[in-house]
Subunit: 221 residues, 2 copies
């Protein structure tokens, strides 16, 4: 379970303050499929990064499995993310000098998995997202949607219990999108994984059991 | 008018060949509103870059206003793009060390417009895409959809006669998307501009008078 209690995030820009999140409280139970929608700039990415322990709130608390994660050291938070959280970033953030296959293998090698096993699993994941002829391509040699799919494959590499996806189908056509949606539903229904998706795509949002809407940094539904 | 005659694009990756475009022929008349759809990896971005003189075909011809652009020097192609083409890139490609306002001003300053006039027009453009409180933010201080909107504003800076947009609403919610679609329709119907949009969004594609579909590097409709 992931609990957010009065989570606020304020950015300081010179004299101005940007209130990206204003006292957000919510509980995401293990195995939930949650969608987060809302206008551009309403705080969705900021919220997802805080849920996923990539960022900390300006005030308020985040508890993962009952434990307050702001009490954890940077090193423990890093370990938590590597073992339990799989991220799909809005900007992909693939390593530009590594191939599609090498990018997918990175989290596995970091978790101590052998090169052989990492490569075997990487193959399956890239097959699943429709990239079987693109293993050796660098990100600069891939289309926008292909880069997004490498990013999706990478997020599932360590079979994490929580998947945090920021607009995972933004660059995909409807057929590729349906494939990704089906993969996520499978991970949720069969794998019991918690899925938290920020999306503008109603095709994904309608599959969610919990639908959150943000507006100006607050929950609006 | 932009004419493509038997345009082919082949990438060499070691021993393998990737045929991104296979003998594409099409004419885009001045004032057309054309959409290009198709699966991820089907060649849409490659096609748009060749239409916009950012890339050259492996074989085949591109004529702009009757002139074969492969005959032009790099410098003349650069001048053509700056004066006549406005680009919205799939990856945005904003300059990370310049603010939203400065990014929008870049093409105007390159075209010799004064700082004063560039700033005045930059303000209007950023207002139009809903970013009036974000002028001074760096790209890293903007949401995904805000960065996309800066990229859209920048493409219109020099009031180009041709706008080439690669997935311009990929990161936007439906309301922000509708605003962008209305801006493009206005530029086309009132401003007489040629609009070529690569999109997965049917909301945009249905406004186009010409709808192209790509599949495996060929026109499939
Ligand atoms: N430099 C390159 N070297 C090798 N292959 C490349 C290179 N650039 C692109 N490709 C391949 O060419 C194909 C077409 O790429 P393109 O970017 O035009 O696709 P797209 O239709 O825009 O896809 P998307 O909808 O995912 O953005 C892709 O399969 C891609 O892997
Ligand atoms: N480092 C920063 N400094 C100042 N303001 C910031 C910073 N990062 C983000 N913001 C602002 O915080 C707000 C929320 O950003 P966030 O990325 O969470 O939005 P979002 O809902 O994900 O939007 P989108 O749908 O466009 O991706 C935005 O208005 C943005 O301009
Ligand atoms: Mg976002
Ligand atoms: Mg593309």
């Amino acid at each position: 379970d992931i609990e957010l209690i009065n989570v606020t995030k304020v950015y300081q820009l010179g004299k101005r303050e940007v209130k990206a999140l204003r006292s957000i409280s919510s509980t995401i139970r293990s195995g939930n499929f949650m969608s987060i929608m809302g206008p551009s700039g309403s705080g969705k990415t900021t919220l997802l990064n805080i849920i996923g322990a990539l960022d900390s709130p300006t005030s308020g608390y985040v508890r993962v499995g009952g434990k307050d994660i702001s009490d954890l050291s940077d090193r423990s938070r890093s370990k938590l993310r590597l073992s339990s959280f799989g991220f799909i970033f809005q900007g992909f953030y693939l390593l530009q000098n590594l191939t599609a296959m090498e990018n997918v293998m990175v989290p596995m090698r970091e978790a101590g998995i052998s090169r052989w096993d990492a490569m075997k699993r990487g193959k399956e994941l890239l097959y699943d997202v429709g990239l079987r002829n693109r293993f050796g391509h660098l990100p600069s040699q891939l289309s926008g949607g292909e880069q997004q799919r490498v990013s999706i494959a990478r997020s599932m590499a360590n079979d994490p219990s929580v998947i945090l996806a920021d607009e995972p189908t933004g660059e995909l056509d409807s057929e590729s999108s349906q494939n990704i949606i089906n993969i996520m539903r499978g991970l949720n229904r069969n794998g019991g994984k918690t899925i938290i998706v920020v999306t503008h795509d109603n095709e994904i949002a309608k599959r969610a059991s919990i639908r959150l809407r943000l507006k100006d940094g607050r929950i609006s539904n």
